[in-house]
Symmetry: C2
Subunit: 383 residues, 2 copies
Amino acid sequence: MPRFPHTAEEMREVRASVFSRLAHRLASCSGEIYPFHVGDTYLDPAEGCRMEDLATADWPGLHRYAAPRGMPALLEALAARATVRHKVPTAVEDVLVSAGATGGIGAILGAILSPGDEVLILAPFWPLIDGIVRTFRGTPVAVPFLGVAESPESAVEIVERARTARTVALYVSTPNNPTGRVIPPTWLGALARWAELRGLWILSDEVYEDYVYRGEHAYLRSLAPERTFSAHSFSKAWGMAGNRCGYVVGPAAVMEALGKVVVHTFYSTPTASQAAALRALDGRGDAWAASARECYRPVGAAAARRLGIAEPEGSQFLWLDVAPALGEGGLERFLERCADRGLAAAPGPSFGPYPTHVRLCYTAAPPEATARGFERLAAILGR
Amino acid sequence: MPRFPHTAEEMREVRASVFSRLAHRLASCSGEIYPFHVGDTYLDPAEGCRMEDLATADWPGLHRYAAPRGMPALLEALAARATVRHKVPTAVEDVLVSAGATGGIGAILGAILSPGDEVLILAPFWPLIDGIVRTFRGTPVAVPFLGVAESPESAVEIVERARTARTVALYVSTPNNPTGRVIPPTWLGALARWAELRGLWILSDEVYEDYVYRGEHAYLRSLAPERTFSAHSFSKAWGMAGNRCGYVVGPAAVMEALGKVVVHTFYSTPTASQAAALRALDGRGDAWAASARECYRPVGAAAARRLGIAEPEGSQFLWLDVAPALGEGGLERFLERCADRGLAAAPGPSFGPYPTHVRLCYTAAPPEATARGFERLAAILGR
């Protein structure tokens, strides 16, 4: 039993930041720093959509509580957006504003999980999903999928093999973090039909929906609106990660349960962050994303070519097996060697059973610096 | 088992907002509106500490992720503040910045609760605490205390009677929401010694620490630093509720576990909100609070006198038994009658087993409007 001075057993399995151990090495570098370990952007948000643009005089109550499920005007704009993007008629009752996609996915899992319920997570996966399932006392089940599935049929075989009597949901991230892959629409269609057959919820993490360079992004909610939660974020889309504003679209009948989790974990999404999102929804956000996408595309492609791997299809990451470069000390020692050269990379085990991979974000530093960082990495790898 | 289309049984017990049912009645009022149901302030934050004062040029990375446990400069300022206020030497490792006290208390409970663990909650209580315990799959146990305990000895008797083998923590809110009472230091000392004897964690909700009008606020962390989590907020203190920024101070050994919950529920406290708090920590916040306190004090006292109840000792609320005014339809009908006259009140059952009470916030509207609202309430009550 967790009792003073102990904490709950359930949280011991959750990873703390693996990066803090490397931070001091990076900090002691004298040269340029390449922060490829985080998923972020070096770009500031669109002009007019920054904190300094939000005058208290124009926004009465800017520093007071917002409605926990979202400002009415923002909910309306997001319902209209989801109607167009998902091609599903969407009402404000289907939408929940959240503290980033993290807060939104927490709200979903907090609403649907009882202790011990299992969530199938297509791997490699966004590192926080494993811990969010555990935080709400569920059991994450990593299902190696990207790079394994080869067709709609094999996609279904893979998830069906992992399913048990305790499985309640399937988590999908596409465009994928960390692999940069875009899961083909036909595969998503097969997974949606399988979830329907098995009576499962679907969590569709689409925070990189605007960052597709090749292939086509399909919305799972278009395919199974009755059971799909779409998680979106302005963090990645519009360079507002620090604002902590995202949203979830899902079946109205259960959105009140998600709202309860929001109220009891962070109460409401920051009012100014919602106001900034609302301003950006007038077209400035989408214009920013279109420009950022064209900026990111050649950077990711060039980095991939330099490392001799396939160019990314989407998202803001490269996923790289560094097994040939690992000597004694394995991945940990490799990451230390990188950090000593100013280069931070995220370790494969944060993304599932990948002891020799690293994830590299090519959008967290300006393009020229990023190119120099990948040159340095190629040298470390002997490529 | 929670399975599509159902949600988790654990969340069904959590109250959704009771206010939404009354909102349309309030909205259809033609006259002045008295929003006494929320805990908020009508005042804007200190000048220089608003969103419009945060220029991206001065704050590089203002819209990018902050460190999940808090910006280093903010952590340092808060550790120094806790050292002085709690009279306990406090390091940055003892501090966690959170999405308001709500996010901080969620981080505490997420870190210490296993399913079924019980938390003793001194009642009447802050309405969210019950649901936060449930959100992290624990069991809240309401312990009627304020208005019942009469001495340090009876305080201990009351909590000891409620303790079971599953009890892991005691939750205390003082200055108290909703009663406006300040729990005497000698009672807190007795509770701290009891928690030590019984091996329990202590959650001390001190978001109204700056709003004491009579009596003395004692910090439980001063009395039992090894087992006490102090939850603080800039929401109430400095009129920044919409920013969602607060902090927790507790034993360094377990703060990493709290940090994991933060990362997996909202990732980090909004960067701009942390920057605003840091600016206000230069003295402007405390000056604001001193001025707000002198503004609130006579408003609360006058409202209490008008209703014929004791003047508040602290916080921003009056707690009122309206039993004599309840006719057929009980409290629900009474709240509807109030709403029809533009007056919103929070229902007693949100605060524990109080079927005939209401909570009234006297700081959410300007003093003159508040006085008119209480005049109207007195008329409804026939006082």
